[in-house]
Symmetry: C2
Subunit: 304 residues, 2 copies
C-alpha cells in the first residue's frame, strides 16, 4: 500500500516548554514530502528525526502566528546554503511573501533555487496542489487572524486486472483500460463481463485533515468529513473552555466532538498549552467521547 503518514515535529502552542516545539509536521505520501506549518526550530527537528530538508517539495503554512511559521526563513536559508537546486512550493497567507522578502533583503540572500509562492485564501476552500495520486485543499478556520486548515486526499486509482481471467476470456486490449476504470465489457455475443469480477478490489482512498488553530465551529466540518486521520488542535482541557473561546482555540473535549461529528476514523491532538506539562489528561478527556484519540508525540509517525 502507498505510504501515507505524518511525522510530528512540534506539538506545542506558542510558548514552547518542556522540550516541546512549536507546530510543524512532515507528511510523507508515496515518498513525496510535504511540510505542514514550520514553527521555530523546524530545521533542527528535521535533522533530529532524519529528514533531509531537500526532500521537502511543498510547504503549507496555516497562518501568521509565529509558532506556525518562524522556522521558515531558517529552513529556506539553510536549503540555499546547502546548495538546493530543486523547486520548493510554498503556500500561505499573502503577507508571508512580504515577510520573507524583507528578511532576505536585509540578509542579502538571493536563493539559488526556485521558491514558488502561492498565496492562500482564508475565505473559501480551494485546491492548492494536485497530481495523479493526491490532492491538497485548504479551507477556512476561525482564529484571531486569517487561518486555513489543509486536507490531503489520496485519489482513486485504476484497478489492477486479474490477468489470467482477462486472457482466458480474450477481452480485446482497448477494453482493458475501461475495465480498470470500472466499466463492464459486453462481448459480441451479449455476455456481460463485470469489471468488478475482472479486477482486484481497490483500496479505499485515504485522507488527512489538519486543523490548527481554530475555535470549534461547524463551518469547517464539511471540509474534513470522513477523513481517516484528523489532526485537531486541543490547546486546553475543557475546564478552560471560556479561555479557549476567548483565544480562538479548542479544548480536547471539543476536538473529540469534531472528530465524532465529521466521522473521522482517528484523532490526533496537538498544539498543547504550556500550562500542561503532563498531557495525559488531555488524551483521557478526548477519549471519553472519541476512543480513537492519540496525542501527537514529537518524533512519532502516524499512519493515515
Amino acid at each position: 500500500m502507498t505510504r501515507f503518514e505524518v511525522l510530528i515535529l512540534g506539538n506545542s502552542s506558542a510558548t514552547p516548554m518542556y522540550g516541546r516545539h512549536p507546530t510543524s509536521q512532515v507528511l510523507n505520501f508515496n515518498e513525496q514530502f510535504f511540510l505542514i506549518d514550520c514553527g521555530e526550530g523546524t530545521q533542527m527537528q528535521l535533522f533530529r528525526h532524519g529528514i533531509k530538508g531537500s526532500r521537502i517539495s511543498h510547504i503549507f503554512i496555516s497562518h501568521l502566528h509565529g509558532d506556525h511559521y518562524l522556522g521558515l526563513v531558517g529552513l529556506l536559508s539553510s536549503q540555499h546554503l546547502v546548495g538546493r537546486k530543486s523547486e520548493l512550493h510554498l503556500y500561505g497567507p499573502a503577507a508571508l511573501k512580504e515577510i520573507l522578502d524583507l528578511q532576505f533583503k536585509h540578509s542579502d540572500t538571493r536563493l539559488r533555487y526556485p521558491l514558488i509562492f502561492h498565496p492562500t485564501n482564508a475565505c473559501h476552500q480551494e485546491v492548492l496542489f494536485e497530481n495523479t495520486r493526491l490532492s491538497v485543499r485548504s479551507f477556512p478556520l476561525q482564529h484571531r487572524i486569517a487561518c486555513t486548515g489543509f486536507r490531503f486526499d489520496e485519489k482513486v486509482q485504476s484497478a489492477s486486472l486479474k490477468k489470467e481471467e482477462v486472457e482466458r476470456l480474450n477481452i480485446p486490449i482497448p477494453y482493458l483500460r475501461l475495465l480498470k476504470k470500472g466499466i463492464d465489457y459486453v462481448a459480441d455475443d451479449g455476455t456481460v463481463h463485470r469489471a468488478k469480477d475482472l479486477t482486484y478490489p481497490l483500496p479505499r482512498p485515504r485522507s488527512y485533515g489538519y486543523c490548527s488553530d481554530t475555535v470549534m465551529n461547524e463551518d469547517y466540518f464539511e471540509a474534513i468529513k470522513d477523513v481517516d486521520l484528523l489532526y485537531h488542535e486541543a490547546t486546553f482541557l475543557h475546564d478552560r473552555v471560556e479561555r479557549a473561546k476567548e483565544t480562538f482555540h479548542t479544548t480536547s473535549l471539543e476536538a473529540a466532538e469534531v472528530a465524532q461529528t465529521v466521522n473521522a476514523k482517528k484523532l490526533l491532538l496537538g498544539h498543547f498549552s504550556a500550562r500542561y506539562k503532563d498531557l495525559q489528561p488531555l488524551l483521557e478527556e478526548s477519549r471519553t467521547i472519541f476512543a480513537q484519540t492519540e496525542l501527537s508525540e514529537e518524533g512519532k509517525w502516524f499512519l493515515v
Copy 2:
C-alpha cells in the same frame, strides 16, 4: 567577587546540525542578564538551560543574518504571552525594527511590555549601555552585511576601607569617600595616610569581547584589546582559509592569532560550520598558537 559569566546557547553557524543551535549567549553580570544574538530556537534553549526569559533585560543583535536573530520574534512574543511587564531593551541594526514591526503587524501582536529599540551603528564604536557597574560598547566587524561586535567592561569600583585602621587614625568622615577613590589623606600635622594602605586592593575590572561574524581584520583589534575572555567565531579550519575569506569568516587558527595579538586572557571558539561534526580539530588548531582556548560548548557557563 561579582558574577560575570557567559552561557552558550548555540555554537553553530547557519545550517545547524548534530543537535547544535545557531548563535546565542546569555551574559550574567551581577545577576543582570544580557542576551547576545538570538538565533532560531533561543527560547527553547533558555528553557532547557533553566534561564527564564523574564530575567533578560537587554538583547544585543550583531547583524541580520538569520542564524543570529531568527529566534527574536518567538522570544519577544512568548514574553508577551507569559505576561511580562518590565522593559526590554533591544540593540541591533535599524532594519531589525522594520522586520519585527512587520511580523507583529501580521500576527496582530501588540506587546504588553515596553520594547525599547536602540539602532546600532556598524561604522564606528559606540557605548550602547552603561550603569554604575558595567558598560557595553559595540564596534564594527567586517562581514558580508553590516555587523558589530560587543564589548562588556566591568567598571572600576570604589575600594573598601580597612575600617579598624581608619577608626584608629580618626580620619574625618568627609575624607573616607576620597580614600575609597584612591586619594590620600593628609592630617593636620602633615602626616600622609596613603589610600592604598587604608583600603583593600581592588579586583581588576574584567571584560568580555564578542566577535561574530567577521573576516579577521586588524581594524577591530583595538576594540577588544586586553579582554579577559574573547569569544571569536571560528567557522572553519585553516585549510579552508580561502573559503573563510570569501564568506567573510575566520578560521580557528586566525581566531587564535587575534586572541594573541589583542592580549586576551582566554579564547572561546564558536560559530562552527556544519562541515565539522567533531569540533576537536578546531580546538587543537587554535591551541597550537593560543593555549588558553576553549570550545563554546552549548549549555556550559564560562567565567569572564
